[in-house]
């Protein structure tokens, strides 16, 4: 078990909207080992984002068992209340890297400052921030603000921000979803390349079959989700 980055068993998630219960995730089991990658696919509304949010603690799992990086977080042996929040915070600070489709950066800070801020919050040395921009090919854009660079450059900065914390697991929700085909491919290349080099796990929600195919495992939520 300790080798598992993600260990999810019998996870169900319901949303209550008004008096209606919408079951988004039903009896789901997911396991991911170190350095492995998993693609979440499925039609819109099938619960990809919901699952990622559960995996990073932004959404509480309804029922079932959940352990991340060997730490139980829901079900038997999981902490509750403040201790649970603290555990999640520690995980997100430096062990989990989260990338969204867009708006990963604080709009009021330059790319470099975004990465420095992220490094600081992770308790890492922020002097490597510039190196990461360099490595992702946007070294000269460090002083620009997010709205002054292209979508692809923004996503690269978001990757830099994730890797500067040296995470064990990356949770990416359609990280290339708002990019054109070619930019999407280069950004995806960089993501896989860095993931492989640093040996971290990756969970990737995507509509893109080619991108999903590049992952070690695939999970189609469309087959189990839905009301």
């Amino acid at each position: 078990m300790a080798d598992n980055l993600i260990s999810v068993t019998g996870l169900s998630k319901q949303f209550e909207s008004g008096d209606q219960h919408v079951t988004v995730l039903r009896e789901l089991s997911v396991h991911l080992g170190r350095g492995e990658s998993l693609a979440l696919t499925g039609p819109s509304g099938s619960g990809k984002s919901t699952l990622l949010n559960v995996l990073c603690g932004l959404e509480s799992p309804g029922s079932g068992r959940l352990a991340m990086l060997g730490q139980p977080l829901a079900g038997d042996g999981a902490p509750t209340g403040k201790a649970l929040e603290r555990t999640w915070c520690e995980l997100r600070q430096s062990r989990l890297g989260v990338v969204f489709q867009d708006a990963n950066l604080m709009p009021t800070l330059s790319l470099l400052d975004n990465i420095r801020l992220r490094a600081r919050l992770a308790g890492r040395d922020d002097t490597s921030a510039g190196d990461w921009l360099q490595r992702l090919g946007i070294g000269e854009l460090g002083q620009r603000y997010p709205d002054q660079v292209s979508g692809g450059q923004r996503q690269r900065a978001a990757l830099a921000m994730v890797f500067v914390t040296r995470p064990a697991l990356i949770l990416a929700d359609e990280p290339t979803g708002s990019l054109d085909r070619r930019t999407a491919e280069t950004v995806a290349d960089e993501l896989f390349e860095l993931q492989a080099r640093h040996g971290c796990g990756l969970v990737l929600a995507t509509h893109d079959a080619d991108l999903a195919a590049r992952c070690l495992h695939q999970l189609d939520l469309g087959h189990q989700g839905g009301p």
Partner: protein, 753 residues
């Protein structure tokens, strides 16, 4: 779908916004109507009271005894047109004045507007004399016999004298000054509400930009869109203004009693009901304000104007406004200066805050601090209008507080100067005051020699040494110059003015006279006191509120034998037992059964109570404005934050615990509010200065002392803290709600930097 429905459907999806806008229009209308109604009513009634007693004469007995019904009968038998005027205090309602409507007929003057008591006798405050007599208790009511103007010209019948009729010392100017200040504040309140309306309106517009763009694409042209928006706002305005005006009137009616009584007590004037009945003026004003607030530069809804116009332009405007305020020779110029300064300050404050915050951000190494500072800058820019409104409201509250407190202190002090002695005994006409004075002087064990003096009032004329025309002035003569007057606040003085005055080496003048004649301490004056011509230097200038007339203060020893005293009294500070002895002795000396002795402490207490009540109203009005501004700000913050919540949530995504993230946001909001407070303080102090040192001298010839009350700043800081914490709370709520990522990077300007 017609464009109209497309536009209105916005509010169907955002009912809260509609409700907020409606509530603000309603409240603003109510506030403005209330103020307008109260001030115009007070003004009308002050005017009427002035007209009622203006230049009337009364008939009094030569022997100094109060007139009675028998005197009325006597005078009528001699063919004189006299009218009885019976003042009766009514507990809780002020006073009633009983008059005789038949006698009032010979007071009618063709070509003149009739005096207020020549109308209906409806108890506001005039009633038929029989009715007043029924309520009169012997000691408190006072009968006066007014003489018609025609009869006043011819000599009085034997045993009677004519003298000027005044219900009280003339304090009309104090009242006018008070009302003028209220007016100025009312205009500022209007300005603030228009800013708030505009900000809510622009917010709705920003949110509707997409549907407006869509309509535009569908072929609805711009002028049509503007027209639609205008119609929409007018409809909303009409629906909300009318109940607002109604509410304001209702409110003012509730307050009117207290306000009326307060004014009556404050300025010792009879107050008349009626006046200020118009409802259309506030309605029209509000409609105009709303149209102006919502229409001006609809296309500039993005706030881009802010960056387009050079700050330097507004800095120049500010300097210009300040310069004009120093120089302004008339009230109009002064109001222009205030407008300039407020415009410039309102424009510069957000720019200045953003500038300072950005500069700080550039100079910090910590990315988290930099983030906080940059967020403050964004908030300042996005919420510029409601923040400026808050700044104005804070400045207004500060100025009103200072004005009110100054007014209160000054009036209290002035009253204190005039009523320094514990008791005050009127000397009846014809009574021998010298006998009384020598008796008092011979009894130091009864009344300490430093604690009593006689006051003699009369008229004189004054001429400056440079030889200008003599001007008539009031005379205030004192003898001896007791300790009771030596605490007077003097505006300018020689080294030991009271000692010099006691030695008869000079005289003092009131502020009005000093301003009008441009007198300074040391200037020599020629005073004609009856037959005596006296040349003396000015020893000091003393403040004298609420009267237009100039006055000279001289020692009684300088008065000539033939000086015609209009009024004489004794001011005495002594214990209650001692004053009884004095009273008895004086009554014996003067052969009068009853002396008029006033307990000054009671009068002061009453005046102070009355003041508190009056200013409760002013404070309530400005505080309401502040609450309105704060509420509008919170509403705008709420809407704006919902577009920015995603970025706040990033802190949580990056592993910052909820509590820490909330602390960060609290610091952002507190920095924002305190920056606004810091901008409001100088504006408020300046406005205070304008109100007390510029408006008053220009309008009335005397100034109030300028004072700042830093203690109150702390109260404002606490208030700012509460507003800041409320904003922080709203931010916190945004943290808890699951945020959805903005559709595009700049969805609804949420991604602004």
């Amino acid at each position: 779908m017609s464009p109209r429905i497309a536009l209105f459907s916005h509010y169907r999806r955002h009912p809260l916004q509609l409700a907020a806008l409606a509530a603000m229009i309603l409240l603003a209308s109510a506030l403005w109507t209330g103020i307008h109604h109260l001030t115009s009513q007070a003004r009308t009634s002050l005017e009427q009271s002035e007209r009622a007693v203006a230049e009337r004469q009364q008939s009094v007995r030569e022997d100094g005894n109060p007139v009675s019904v028998q005197d009325f009968v006597n005078l009528r038998r001699q063919g004189l047109c006299v009218m009885p005027w019976l003042e009766v205090p009514v507990p809780g309602r002020g006073r009633l004045v009983g008059i005789d409507p038949l006698a009032a007929h010979c007071f009618a003057e063709p070509g003149h507007t009739p005096a207020p008591w020549q109308g209906e006798l409806d108890g506001k405050p005039f009633v038929d004399i029989s009715e007043a007599a029924a309520q009169a208790s012997a000691e408190a009511s006072a009968l006066v016999l007014l003489v018609s103007q025609a009869d006043g010209q011819s000599p009085p019948p034997a045993g009677y004298r004519y003298q000027a009729f005044a219900v009280a010392p003339d304090t009309a100017e104090l009242g006018d000054s008070f009302l003028l200040n209220l007016d100025a504040l009312g205009v500022l309140v209007l300005l603030i509400t228009s800013l708030l309306l505009r900000s809510v309106f622009l917010l709705g517009l920003a949110q509707r930009r997409e549907s407006l763009a869509l309509l535009y694409r569908y072929g609805v042209n711009r002028s049509q869109l503007s027209r639609l928006l205008l119609v929409e706002n007018l409809l909303l305005a009409l629906v909300c203004i009318l109940p607002g005006v109604w509410l304001g009137r209702a409110l003012s009616l509730v307050l009117a009693d207290g306000f009326g009584q307060a004014l009556e007590g404050l300025f010792d004037r009879l107050l008349y009901a009626g006046g200020g009945e118009d409802w259309w003026l506030p309605t029209l004003t509000m409609v105009a304000v709303i149209v102006a607030a919502c229409l001006a530069g609809v296309r500039d809804s993005s706030g881009s104007l802010l960056t387009r116009v050079q700050p330097a332009f507004f800095a120049v405007l500010l300097a210009l406004g300040l310069a004009v305020s120093l120089w302004a020779p008339t009230l109009i110029w002064l109001f222009l200066a205030v407008a300039l300064v407020f415009l410039a300050a309102g424009w510069l404050a957000p720019l200045a805050i953003a500038g300072v915050v950005r500069w700080l951000a550039r100079n910090t190494g910590d990315p988290l601090i930099r983030w906080r500072l940059q967020e403050v800058a964004v908030l300042v820019r996005r919420l510029a209008l409601p923040l400026v409104a808050l700044q104005f409201a804070l400045a207004l509250v500060l100025a009103v507080h200072a004005l009110v407190t100054t007014f209160e202190d000054t009036f209290d002090q002035w009253l204190g100067q005039r009523l320094e002695a514990d008791y005050y005994i009127e000397v009846p006409q014809g009574a021998d005051i010298t006998a009384a004075v020598s008796w008092l002087a011979a009894k130091p064990e009864l009344v300490s020699p430093e604690l009593w003096h006689q006051v003699i009032r009369g008229r004189a004329s004054v001429q400056t040494a440079s030889g200008r025309e003599p001007v008539p002035v009031d005379v205030f003569a004192l003898g001896p110059v007791s300790h009771l007057v030596q605490n007077w606040r003097l505006l300018a003085q020689t080294e030991t003015p009271w000692q010099a005055l006691a030695r008869g080496e000079g005289l003092m003048v009131n502020e009005q006279l000093a301003r009008r004649q441009q007198l300074a301490v040391g200037d020599r004056l020629i005073v004609r006191l009856g037959a005596r011509r006296l040349q003396a230097p000015v020893l000091a200038v003393y403040p004298d509120y609420g009267r237009p007339s100039g006055e000279v203060l001289v020692p009684a020893s300088l008065l000539p034998e033939d000086f015609e005293a209009r009024f004489r009294s004794l001011s005495i500070s002594a214990g209650i037992e001692e004053i009884k002895v004095v009273e008895a002795q004086l009554a014996r000396l003067w052969h009068t059964p009853q002396l008029t002795v006033r307990d000054n402490q009671a009068i002061r207490t009453l005046a102070t109570d009355v003041f508190d009540q009056t200013f409760l109203l002013t404070r309530a009005m400005t505080t309401l404005t502040l609450i309105l501004a704060a509420a509008a700000l919170l509403l705008m913050v709420w809407v704006f934050l919902s577009t920015r919540a995603w970025y706040f949530r990033l802190l949580i995504v990056w592993g910052m615990p909820q509590r820490q993230a909330a602390t960060q946001l609290t610091r952002v909001s507190l920095a924002l509010i305190f920056a606004v407070l810091v901008c409001a303080l100088p504006l408020g102090v300046w406005l205070t200065w304008i109100l007390v040192q510029r408006i008053n001298p220009l309008a009335f010839g005397w100034s109030l002392p300028m004072a700042v009350y830093p203690g109150f700043w702390i109260e404002l800081a606490v208030l700012a803290l509460i507003i800041g914490l409320s904003i922080a709370l709203l931010m916190r709520l945004q943290l808890r709600r699951p945020a959805s990522a903005p559709e595009s990077a700049h969805g609804l300007q949420g991604g602004e930097r």
